[in-house]
Symmetry: C2
Subunit: 317 residues, 2 copies
């Protein structure tokens, strides 16, 4: 496929076009992605997540600069929590990274987390594949750490960095608790601030008190203070990400993770196909809604009827 060849040569327009095609979820998209997939497996995929206000976009910008200084190229997939109605791509966060956009060794793709035609997880992992096939050395996937899909996406990375910031409110901290456990590396942002030391020591305390490491796991997630402002700790963060990649290779954990990731991808892709199929229910769906409204059927009962009509028989539980 000529378009795939152009992607592999790193043709920026071909890459962007392939990403747009991938998002359509059509048969043509799946064919192209099948060919793309054959040329993947080389990049180091790093997921970065954190609660809103954690400063992760700024950190992604600084980290990208540090990676570029080592001569490596960087693809960035940024999942925006903005809406399709209010404009799609973000906004201030991306603009802060604009210092990098003149650089051929950096490719940034924003994806809206709402209103994706197919599933968000599937679409963003396809985008990662395209960047991988295009030869980018490192791929940074940035999502906000809320929502099952967002967490799935980040967990599909080889290395997961959870970004925490000093001085956030109570309910933000509560959200953070949910993503802390998926971290391979903890980065504390804004460590030029006076209250950052407390966040670092709280995290260290939490990790000491937390669950013991998984049997056989030899990687203990470090807590790294960073500041995109002063540049402090950015180099350490990159070194640590590189160490984690070596750990994955040497320990065999990379294989375990890839298996889990592929299982998730197969299921998400299958779910996307089924979801699209169901949503073409049309006239029948109207009839079912009528029956629910008269309480002749419950929503779950109607779902059963719909499944039976789409798939011939209702799939067993």
């Amino acid at each position: 496929m000529e378009s795939v060849q152009r992607v592999r040569k790193g043709d920026v327009r071909a890459i962007a076009k392939m990403m747009s095609l991938a998002e359509t979820g059509t048969e043509r998209a799946r064919e192209a992605l099948g060919e793309i997939y054959r040329h993947t497996g080389r990049a180091h995929v790093v997921g970065l997540t954190g609660v809103p206000g954690s400063g992760k976009s700024t950190l992604v910008g600084a980290l990208t600069g540090a990676i570029r200084e080592t001569g490596r190229t960087v693809g960035i997939v940024a999942i925006d929590p903005s809406s399709p109605y209010s404009g799609g791509a973000i906004l201030g966060d991306r603009i802060r990274m604009a210092g990098l956009t003149g650089d051929d060794g950096v490719f940034i793709r924003s994806m809206a987390s709402r209103g994706a035609l197919g599933g968000l997880a599937g679409a963003s992992l396809d985008t990662v594949d395209i960047l991988d096939a295009a030869g980018f050395d490192m791929i940074l996937v940035e999502t906000v750490g809320v929502g099952q899909d967002e967490v799935d996406i980040v967990q599909a990375a080889h290395t997961v960095v959870v970004v925490s910031a000093p001085g956030l409110g109570d309910d933000i901290q509560a959200i953070k608790a949910g993503v802390l456990e998926i971290a391979d590396i903890h980065a504390v942002s804004k460590c030029d601030r006076a209250d950052a030391a407390q966040t670092v020591s709280e995290l260290n305390g939490m990790l000491t008190l937390g669950r013991p490491l998984k049997e056989g796991a030899r990687w203990k997630p470090p807590v790294l203070p960073t500041s995109a402002e002063t540049g402090e700790g950015i180099g350490d963060l990159l070194s640590c990400i590189d160490s984690h990649r070596r750990y994955l290779d040497e320990s065999g954990e990379l294989e375990t993770r890839k298996t889990a990731m592929l299982k998730m991808r197969i299921l998400k892709s299958a779910e996307d196909v089924l979801r699209r199929r169901l949503r073409r229910g049309g006239a029948e769906l109207e009839e079912l809604i009528g029956k629910i409204r008269t309480r002749a059927l419950s929503p779950h009962g109607a779902a059963r009827v719909l499944l039976a009509s789409v798939f011939g028989k209702s799939p067993p539980d």
Copy 2:
């Protein structure tokens, strides 16, 4: 079904047990929910959402107090963004509402947004049904305004309140943009703070500049300053919620919304069944993963094979 009868009598233990049963997603759960559903349709369901830090939990507490003062009973479904590992139910937010827990007219159910066996949206709407069948007059559904599932849940309410707070950071504001458009009512929290007036006027400005109202829609979302601290505006918020309910009834928009909501529920329930069915792929899934790893198949290709094996033939696109 005896358990359903006990729920209808408002038996607190029966309600909690039914909610736990609903979360299992089994055939028995679906049967019970089918019977529960016949007794629903009376409650006014109010969704409250806002970004982390918006103070929505505190506002839910104050609003609940105001509703109780009118003699009405309140069921609360709080979707926690915490993880199943780190303890499940929340935390500081809920405890702030503890002043209400001695009251028989209030029932609070927390649900973790991660690790739900079935889909989060389906499970939480089942919980709303149970509270409705149990006779609660108003049901408040609280979620954080990030993530497709969370937004779906809130949109299934009759009346949607979006909570904004003064003085939040840039990327939090960006997230807010995604949920502003689903608001029937805007509540600004913490209006005892000096910078709240600015938030109110920014919201008013945004609404004036925003998209025109949908054709025929006569409800213009008001912006209400509130303070759970001083009690300011809490009564106004309740009056406004009640007005919105009357508007829905009189304009016929309630019917339109219910149709959209039921469509969503049927599809989510069908998707949940399919998702569970797919996840029993077992040995075959291992084989597919092996083929992907040798690049003999792509993830999308493997999904096709899985679908064909589960459903006899691959469903057409």
